[in-house]
């Protein structure tokens, strides 16, 4: 953990989900909810709203306001005071992203932006609803995104949540969230993201360098995107996912050429590296 805090990363506190057996929930949020948006609240505090799967509403660090990590000019908080909890709605959760280093607003040159799609996953073991432990199941090294990698990543979409065969325990694996920033009107810049395991069992999110002057978007659930459109206006009003992962979309359309029977729809990964 010392090493983690020494790195110029931003950290999010994640709590282990106690019992989250849903295969379909994650896929449901995939299409029906907006991505997680992080907004700057104060000088050193960010807040995110979105469909996170497992969230802690306060920092898990024993002393998150210790002087060595506090940016200059930022007042020391009262000890033990919880961060403000925001809940936009009952199905949503809130995540706090606390910046541990002094804000250094700088624009990363395009050549220095690393465009990696993280492939590491964590598995969370829940034993008989009494205690939660987190073990590292597979953590592949960060690799540059390639077409082959993107295909494999999409094919593993259904394996985001895996159910173990152990008696009384379930293994849940979650892919690191997609983190990106917008540059200009149409350009997205991918930011490195991966999970790290805290000593007390909390899962934290480590981010690579990013442009601190721009909004940071952390999306833990989006797996793919697609345009499903006819020539006129189309509105999807209902989205359901069954236990096998099939996505059912219903809606209303004014298009007369909306006929997707047997057609191949190219579904794009959310961020093209």
């Amino acid at each position: 953990m010392r090493l983690v805090f020494a790195l110029p990363f931003c950290l999010v506190a994640f709590a282990a989900p106690p019992d989250r057996p849903a295969v379909s929930k994650s896929a449901l949020t995939l299409l029906s909810r907006a991505p997680m948006q992080f907004e700057k609240l104060e000088k050193d505090q960010w807040i995110g709203h979105g469909p996170a799967l497992s969230i802690a509403s306060r920092s898990r660090h024993p002393d998150p306001h210790r002087r060595s990590l506090r940016p200059r000019g930022v007042r020391r908080r009262a000890q033990g005071r919880p961060l403000r909890s925001h809940r936009a709605g009952s199905p949503r959760h809130s995540v706090f992203l606390r910046r541990w280093r002094a804000p250094a607003a700088r624009v990363i040159p395009p050549a220095a932006v690393r465009t990696c799609i993280p492939e590491s996953t964590w598995s969370i073991t829940v034993r008989a609803r009494t205690s939660s432990t987190i073990s590292r199941s597979r953590r592949a090294p960060m690799r540059r995104a390639s077409p082959a990698l993107s295909r494999r990543r999409r094919s593993e979409t259904s394996e985001r949540w895996r159910t173990g065969a152990d008696s009384g325990s379930h293994q849940l694996g979650q892919r690191p969230p997609v983190v990106y920033q917008r540059r200009g009107a149409h350009e997205l810049v991918a930011i490195e993201s991966r999970y790290s395991l805290d000593g007390d069992g909390a899962v934290r999110l480590k981010l690579g360098d990013y442009d601190r002057s721009e909004k940071l978007i952390v999306d833990p659930v989006i797996a793919y995107t697609a345009y499903l459109a006819g020539s006129a206006s189309d509105i999807a009003t209902a989205c359901v996912v069954d236990s096998k992962g099939f996505v059912y979309i219903g809606g209303t359309t004014n298009s007369t050429d909306l006929d997707w029977a047997g057609t191949e729809i190219i579904i794009r990964p959310p961020i093209r590296a």
Partner: protein, 155 residues
């Protein structure tokens, strides 16, 4: 001129290089709006919405209500995606009285279908309801944000 569409998307089975298979399950209606969708354990798709196309709306032979007035009415349809798109509509019915109705959602529990919405019809088909008469007017719905609700068991 609004139509209803229902898609079944299989994100697990990719065919070809980077495509995913989509199936159009439902022939579109006319002047219809989809308001709710649910899927049961067998994979049947239950949809509900409102329709004004009383002449062209497809109603199956076993429908609870096979005809309706020209007002806006609720429809409830069941789609079997394993069948051919032309025969996938296994059940479809109107739901409404002489005045208009609008659904808000549909749910399935233990083989029973629950549809919730509002109605302005005094002769809305009710069976075993706890409230047998309509309690509010349509104007009251809009001005006081108060919605008289009914639930009907179809199966």
């Amino acid at each position: 001129m609004k139509d209803v569409f229902v898609l079944k998307l299989n994100p697990n089975a990719s065919s070809g290089r980077s495509g995913y298979r989509l199936r159009n399950l439902f022939r579109r209606y006319r002047d219809d709006t989809l308001r709710g969708l649910a899927v049961d354990d067998q994979g049947l798709i239950y949809i509900t919405g409102s329709t004004t196309s009383s002449a062209t709306f497809p109603v199956t032979a076993s429908a609870l209500q096979s005809s309706a007035t020209t007002n806006v009415h609720v429809f409830v349809s069941v789609i079997d995606p394993s069948k051919d798109p032309t025969t996938a509509l296994v059940y479809s019915t109107y739901l409404g009285g002489t005045n208009f109705e609008e659904p808000f959602g549909i749910a399935i529990s233990k083989g029973k279908v629950f549809v919730a919405g509002y109605t302005a019809s005094d002769d809305f088909p009710i069976g075993g309801a706890s409230q047998l008469t309509r309690a509010g007017s349509y104007e009251r719905v809009h001005h006081a944000n108060w919605i008289p609700r009914r639930a009907v068991t179809l199966r």
